[in-house]
Amino acid sequence: MQELDIAGMGSTRVTRKGNNLVVLEKDLQTEQMVLAMGPQHPSTHGVLKLECLTDGEVVTHAEPYLGYLHRCFEKCCENVDYPAIVPYTDRLDYLAGMNSEFAYAITVEKLLDIEIPRRVEFIRVIVAELNRIASHLVAIGTYGIDLGAFTPFLFCFRDREIILSLLEWASGARMLYNYIWVGGLAYDVPADFNKRVMEFVTYFRPKTVELYKLLTENEIFVKRTRGIGIMPADVAINYGWSGPMLRGSGVKWDLRRNDPYSVYPELDFEVPVPDGKVSDIGDCLSRHLVRALEMEESLKIIEQCIDKMPSAEGFNARSAVPKRVRPKAGEVYGRAENPRGELGFYIQSDGKSTKPLRCKARSSCFVNLSAMKDLSKGQLIPDLVAIIGSIDIVLGEVDR
């Protein structure tokens, strides 16, 4: 039994019994209620559990409980070969499988020190950016639902469906692709793929505007998110935030720019950060805006990649794929910019086996979510929902 020091709770004493908070002594002035939000709750995006102490509508303490989706990724990794880990990485951040595969592939390639054909790199960037758009669409759509707007969600899913069909056409699966392999790709993209992607880009641009008008600009939406859940930049860095979350706090930090990999250095794109005009820096609205603007940047990247991509002639997507992945002994920490932030892999190889000795996934959601406890103190329940939504967690990655 451990007594918790929970600020702002007056003389209410709380203890933890097993996995639950128990109110020991009630302060009669404000009686706190222990409220379990999740694991089955519409706004916890899966199976997160938030244990809240509430005083009326005010949340005085909210603690995330994880592990309801702990799927033993790291244990599985230690038991399968390097290439066979790829499908498991898909299942980390299942909304952005391509990006996870990408991060894993470049990490192992770093360890293996191999050269990748240029066309592969471009295809990887295209599919990863497409998947980033798809993932942001889900983030934005579900954020709409969290705040009570249902229609934007369906519009987002409608457009996401197109991306999924494009990716399925390329890779054979809709969500969990196993497409980016260590050293290459599973297959080359279909012949008409580039054309169809360009068509998608032209199709999608007006849709983002519509979405922006329907949701982001809506006064109610702005009022619900502006100034809520403010995270100062230095604390955000200290929390290890990355990706749109960190950029939402005004730090211009994007691994595609700041620790470039693949062909990103050759591409021209902006790293959107809030300017404090429409939103307060570091609040939920900023994070939402960053995501909304990033979709536009991804479209730009896709266009450039399709322009610059070498032709398919004489191209073999698996030409650099090693027959047997057995890296030399050593350790590596590789990372890539996922839609949710920095996805890193720490891999330790003993140089003998084809299985990693240790493969740890540093997941952005896990890290981003860890600030939840701090952010939620003193918020109203609706604001709590707005904050969780703006963190945009994917439990598969949080719990691994």
Binding site: E168, A173, F200, T202, I220
Partner: protein
């Protein structure tokens, strides 16, 4: 005070914009999107309207390379076991029996003319476990193990999802196994005899390697 009225105004204006958008969609509902798949040239030329696909009535074919149900054209399977080794989650179980020399013809060739050297009495795929990653199909040398784009195959009973592709019935397998064992026993006996002979005649060339059959 002006703040107060400005708030009311922005609220009204943005709400009206939103309402306009949804109303546009509402009136657009007279159109329905066509059923071209994304691999179709016309995909992005379809009208903007209701996008719903009425699945059991209308179907957009899944792409050719779609990875859904696994299917093994067992006639082409040479029993090499690569797929089994490649599967990260071991949902394929293979048992092979070495084909006896005189059965070679019976066992047949793959469609590209390769002689099959193994009977595959057990080729079980547990599609309930399979994560459709495609590792097995990419390693298959004869491309007999493929993912079909058929995805809709739910079951009331999970045991129905264990697919048996083996090309021998249990009885046949039994007899083949016995036959092989016989041959092996004979070969063994031969070997022993030879070994004995060798022991007798100290300098003699070693016999051919023993064909060994293993369980899998």
């Amino acid at each position: 005070m002006s703040e107060y009225f400005r708030n009311i105004k922005t609220g009204a204006v943005t709400i009206a914009t939103g309402l306009g958008i949804t109303l546009k969609h509402f009136f657009n509902a007279v159109h329905r999107k066509g059923d071209a798949g994304v691999d179709d040239v016309d995909y992005f030329r379809q009208v903007d309207g209701l996008v719903t696909l009425q699945y059991p009535r209308e179907v957009i074919p899944t792409p050719k390379n779609g990875r859904y149900r696994l299917y093994n054209a067992i006639e082409d399977c040479i029993g090499c076991g690569q797929c089994e080794r490649a599967c990260p989650i071991s949902c394929i179980t293979i048992e092979t029996i070495k084909v006896a020399q005189d059965d070679m013809a019976l066992c047949g060739k793959t469609s590209d003319g390769q002689q099959k050297k193994f009977w595959v009495p057990v080729f079980d795929i547990d599609v309930a476990k399979c994560m459709t990653c495609g590792m097995c199909t990419t390693v298959c040398p004869t491309e007999c193990l493929v993912h079909t784009p058929v995805s809709d195959f739910s079951e009331f009973d999970r045991s129905n999802m264990l697919y048996h592709f083996g090309n021998l019935t249990r009885l046949e397998a039994e007899s083949k196994r016995n036959k092989l064992a016989e041959i092996q026993a004979k070969a063994q006996a031969e070997k022993e005899r030879k070994a004995a002979e060798a022991a007798v005649a100290a300098a003699q060339a070693p016999t051919q390697e023993e064909p060994k059959s293993d369980g899998e």
